[in-house]
């Protein structure tokens, strides 16, 4: 009987990139896990939290806790949403409240997808094949809040046919930033174009990340600029064969 994992499918993946969620489930199953998707799940609350609406974020967080309180592992295809739960839920509730305690209990079990593979499942070679030159974009919250840097790269290096090339601006923000992207569109777009230059310099044809929202931002700018680049979530690459 394989171990069971629950997946939290972020709003962006649910609505815009369902294939990322499907790919993640497939990779997890191949790694020997039974995957469950709790249909009652909604959002982690990050959009409201980052825009300053704490009360509304608290509602989403409270619901998240109720849905997942008895799950052993909750795997998330986003560093940003995983960090919202494991770090910022604690900022939402007063220290002595029952929600705070539950958030503390939940935090270590909410794990970003690549970290789940490398640190919990302890697999690096998932048997994937992907032909192409790829560069990896460090998404900010994965990198700086979750300290995820080498794991996704190790997974990518094990993919047959794939060549990984580092870009100089790997750690620079893509400019998405949630509502920042529409509150400051010019700045946001300019940040993505800086990233684009750095990506083009590598000669890669595909940009991979563990956050779909960064990829949505980058893809939007690539297409607008007419740059022949594709974006893929790590789960999609790992599900390819």
């Amino acid at each position: 009987m394989p171990a069971r994992v629950s997946i939290f499918v972020t709003c962006v993946v649910d609505q815009l990139f369902p294939r990322v969620g499907m790919a993640m489930a497939e990779v997890l199953e191949r790694a020997g896990y039974e995957v469950e998707f709790r249909e009652d799940q909604t959002c982690c609350g990050q959009p409201a939290f980052n825009t300053g609406y704490r009360e509304d974020a608290r509602k989403a967080a409270g619901h998240f806790i109720r849905v997942f309180r008895d799950a052993e592992f909750i795997v998330v295809p986003s560093g940003s949403c995983a960090s919202m739960v494991s770090h910022h839920f604690l900022d939402l509730f007063p220290k002595d409240s029952s929600h705070y305690e539950e958030a503390e209990y939940l935090a270590p079990r909410v794990i970003e997808f690549s970290r789940f593979l490398t640190d919990v499942a302890k697999v690096e070679d998932v048997g994937a094949r992907f032909e192409g030159i790829v560069t990896y974009h460090d998404s900010c919250h994965a990198l700086r809040e979750l300290r995820i840097k080498e794991g996704p790269r190790r997974l990518l290096r094990k993919v047959r046919g794939l060549e990984l090339r580092e870009m100089s601006a790997a750690e620079e923000c893509c400019g998405f930033g949630g509502t920042f992207s529409v509150k400051f569109p010019e700045v946001s777009g300019a940040m993505a174009r800086t990233k684009l230059e750095s990506i083009l310099a590598t000669g890669a044809s595909t940009v991979v990340s563990i956050d779909s929202s960064c990829l949505m931002q980058l893809q939007g700018v690539f297409t607008r600029a007419g740059a022949p680049l594709k974006t893929m979530h790590l789960a999609e690459v790992l599900a390819s064969r």
Binding site: A60, R144, V182, A190
Partner: protein, 469 residues
């Protein structure tokens, strides 16, 4: 609307200006890379430990600031100096004007000080016909150009050498040159006379050292040393948060400051000034004053969480690391402080209602906190300020639509069936022709393509998959 249309327009112009973009990006890249080299584990193995120590010292000092202020004052006075407390820029100005009048001073020289920029000291003094001449090269250029500093440590970083040549040509009599070395010589020649003429030298302070009653100043040009010793009177103007308890704490801060700011191991000059010239000493000022300025700082002290904003040692590393500063530059930030540190202290000094957009001008990427030598959790403070801005706007009845949308969102997050339904409806609307020209989608579409929602959401696909099992 968080931002006034003219502010939005200015930001758009900066982002669209290739000349300024190039200058800004390359200058910050240089400083950023130099910093990275000198704080790398091979170069400074104890770097993280130093940051932790610096953070602890600042935390302790600010929690006990009353004690250290008293100790500092007692020590300054024991050396024959005088401490003056000022609540705001007006009181700083009044003190300087009063002293200048008493001593018959017509002109004074200044070394680089962000604190005096904060209170627009030069304009205030000029208003009373007291000439104040900046002696730091960058600040001198800025002053001649009637401009304001673009960067905490590199005030003229936005100007090319051609720009500097233009400014000198317009304001000085020397022959035009575009060579930076020669430009520095011109400035030096012109400034030398000023040092000799000036009746007062005004400096800032990088650190106020409580156990020695001393002011510590770091610099690279030697002008601060002249400013504080050549004129008969030296006045140091400093925010009260510049305090550190002991002279030996400087071992921690000096290592961090130069490395984080300019990538130097140590600045060229480090001055430790404690009091006026004493009997038998050949140089130094006859009078020594330290003006300790509040200007909103004690209000920050009252907030246990946001108090850490006062730990800042003004190294500028967060500016060089910030992808937003690197696009919008220094002049789009109101007030003297730009970049991430400006985005958190300006709203706290002036109140959040004045420029409510400041805490939102960040993608929350966290690059600032990663490089901050005193470990200020800037993103966390930005988030707290965003919350305050939204509460303030709610109280005024501003931002109604956005607030309602988020209330609706919060309501839906607890109702999974309706949430899924809303998603389905939203996706259908977003796929409809013309959807990209409305509301936030139009803002998104102004610089990039709008992604289309999938025909079937993950939820729906998963349900089908489970059924077919």
């Amino acid at each position: 609307m968080l931002m006034k249309p003219e502010q939005e327009k200015q930001i758009r112009q900066t982002v669209a200006d290739p000349k300024i973009q190039l200058a800004l990006y390359s200058a910050t890249a240089r400083l950023k890379e130099k910093r990275e080299e000198v704080v790398a584990p091979e170069a400074l193995p104890e770097y993280q430990e130093l940051r932790t120590q610096a953070n602890r010292i600042k935390k302790h000092t600010l929690e006990n600031l009353d004690v250290y202020l008293e100790e500092f004052e007692a020590n300054v006075e024991a050396h024959g100096g005088k401490v003056v407390y000022a609540r705001n820029g007006q009181e700083v100005t009044d003190f300087i004007l009063g002293l200048a009048r008493e001593r018959g001073v017509k002109m004074l020289v200044k070394s680089k000080s962000m604190t005096t920029e904060e209170i627009h000291l030069n304009e205030r003094l000029e208003h009373h016909h007291l000439e104040a001449v900046e002696t730091d090269l960058g600040e001198y250029i800025i002053q001649l150009a009637h401009d304001r500093p673009y960067h905490i440590v590199a005030p003229a970083v936005h100007m090319t050498r051609q720009d500097v040549a233009d400014v000198f040509e317009k304001n000085l009599t020397d022959p035009r040159t575009e060579e930076p070395g020669k430009q520095a010589m011109i400035a030096r020649r012109n400034l030398r006379e000023k040092f000799l003429e000036a009746g007062i030298g005004i400096s800032g302070a990088n650190f106020l050292v409580a156990d020695s009653g001393a002011v510590c100043i770091v610099e690279n040009e030697g002008n601060a040393r002249l400013t504080t010793t050549a004129p008969p009177i030296h006045i140091a103007v400093a925010g009260i948060e510049k305090m550190i308890p002991r002279a030996r704490d400087l071992a921690v801060f000096l290592k961090l400051l130069a490395r984080s700011g300019t990538g130097q191991l140590l600045t060229v000059y480090t001055s430790f000034l404690s009091g006026p010239r004493r009997g038998g000493e050949a140089d130094g000022p006859a009078e020594f004053y330290v003006v300790l300025m509040d200007n909103g700082r004690t209000r920050l002290l009252a907030d246990a969480e946001k108090r850490q904003s006062l730990y800042c040692i003004r190294c500028g590393a967060c500016l060089n690391a910030c992808p937003v500063y690197r696009k919008i530059g220094g002049h789009n930030y109101p007030g003297a402080y730009s970049g991430p540190i400006g985005a958190i202290i300006t709203p706290q000094y002036q109140g959040i209602a004045k420029d409510p957009w400041l805490p939102f001008a960040s993608s929350l990427c966290g690059a600032c906190a990663e490089v901050c030598p005193v470990k200020i959790d800037i993103p966390k403070i930005l988030l707290d300020l965003r919350k305050e801005v939204m509460e303030d706007r709610a109280a005024r009845g501003d931002g109604f639509l956005e607030r309602k949308a988020f209330q609706m969102y919060g309501w839906l997050t607890r109702r999974p069936k309706l949430y899924a339904l809303a998603g389905r409806i939203g996706a259908r609307m977003a796929r409809a022709p013309g959807a990209a020209s409305m509301g936030p989608a139009a803002k998104w579409a102004s610089v990039r393509e709008v992604p289309l929602p999938a025909r079937k959401s993950f939820r729906d696909q998963w349900r089908e998959r489970e059924k077919s099992k």
